[in-house]
Symmetry: C2
Subunit: 197 residues, 2 copies
DNA sequence: GGAATTAAATACCGTATCGTATTTTAATTA
DNA sequence: TAATTAAAATACGATACGGTATTTAATTCC
């Protein structure tokens, strides 16, 4: 049992709320006052339990990856479905996650990719790393496909992995630009058509 | 001849400088003081000749489109090269424009797509429109290709147009994430491989 | 040359921001 | 119950921001 006055709000919950706020409004448009109000934690409590704005943002990125990025990557990499189905599921999952109910629109990592490129280098690097780790999930699945004979030996898996990671970003950009769900699905089918079979 | 004291700085030049500043740092990270310093125009002069921050940003978007977007779209739409070559030139041009010397990194419109989605609705709409107009340039070229027999009659041009517009965004995202030029070129070749022939 | 016109330059205002010092409150231990 | 520990609440400080009022300087028309 801890000694003094107990916390009113679990820092884990506060971090999740902060993550949602950053996800929705971005780094610059989110103020510490916004986070304080959203979490119900006064600013000194925030600083004491979660750190300053940059630290909270980094933790929010990490939490997002734990809750959203990693599970989707895991699903993709370890899926026993045929390659094409696995890729369709991945891109389709990305598409639907952009407008999931009960959560902000879009992908937090993609939203942050450009805004954070002009800011703190450490944050920029972390965002880049998350994009690359998504690419690497595609790469892992493609390598397995090749080893299991689903792809020709001559296949350039890295090129394909960059292509599909890029495709998942493309879906985010086009969705943000107002392209309808049905058109996004057609886009996905176009990109899947590069696969043999 | 105008009456009173002559302008020290041509508002056209100032707008171009402001555009470069927004392009490099984004909307939120660019302050009016930054623009004032970059242009050499004191703040009252800026407001008098170019308007407030939102107005300058909108004008910067329009100028960027005039100087960068429209010419590239025009080149794509009216190119007499075979479809595949025209698309390769377009995507390759996008890729190289991301790191052109003497200009900020990346594409101003793409950089703004996510940051501005949480801000002023008018700005958000304009950014979306620019993304869609890029898509429409691909659409126009694909329709011509179909009418000229370069594509089968059954082709879904809109799906292909969204795909290639998305591809151009994908290049921007992957480049921002640190993917090398050679790998981006391989990505482009993958995307071009969906075309017949 | 002087009145009128327009822009530059400086200084300023209200507000919002990140971050913290200080006080008050709630719990545990002795 | 008194002392201790830790958090909540409030208030505050320094700075940066968007935007403007005011004064000064440069040019044209009469």
């Amino acid at each position: 049992m801890p000694r003094g006055r107990p916390r009113k709000i679990d820092p884990k919950d506060a971090l999740k709320t902060a993550m949602m706020t950053f996800w929705e409004k971005g780094y610059e448009r989110t103020s510490m006052a916004d986070i304080s109000e959203a979490t119900g934690m006064a600013k000194p409590g925030l600083y004491a339990s979660l750190g300053d704005k940059d630290e909270i943002f980094k933790k929010a990125l990490a939490l997002y990856n734990d809750e959203m990025g990693s599970p989707m990557a895991e699903e993709l990499v370890s899926s026993s479905a045929p390659l094409k189905e696995a890729l369709r599921a991945s891109l389709s999952g990305m598409m639907h996650s952009l407008q999931g109910s009960g959560q902000p629109m879009g992908c937090f990592v993609l939203n942050s990719t450009f805004e954070c490129s002009a800011g703190d280098p450490d944050i920029k690097e972390r965002v880049c790393d998350l994009n690359i780790s998504r690419r690497d999930a595609y790469l892992a699945r493609l390598k397995r496909a090749k080893s299991e004979g689903e792809l020709p030996e001559a296949t350039d898996e890295l090129a394909l992995a960059n292509f599909f990671a890029g495709q998942s970003a493309a879906i985010g950009v086009m969705a943000q630009s107002g392209v309808e769900l049905g058109d996004l699905e057609a886009m996905i089918e176009v990109s899947l058509s590069i696969l043999p079979g």
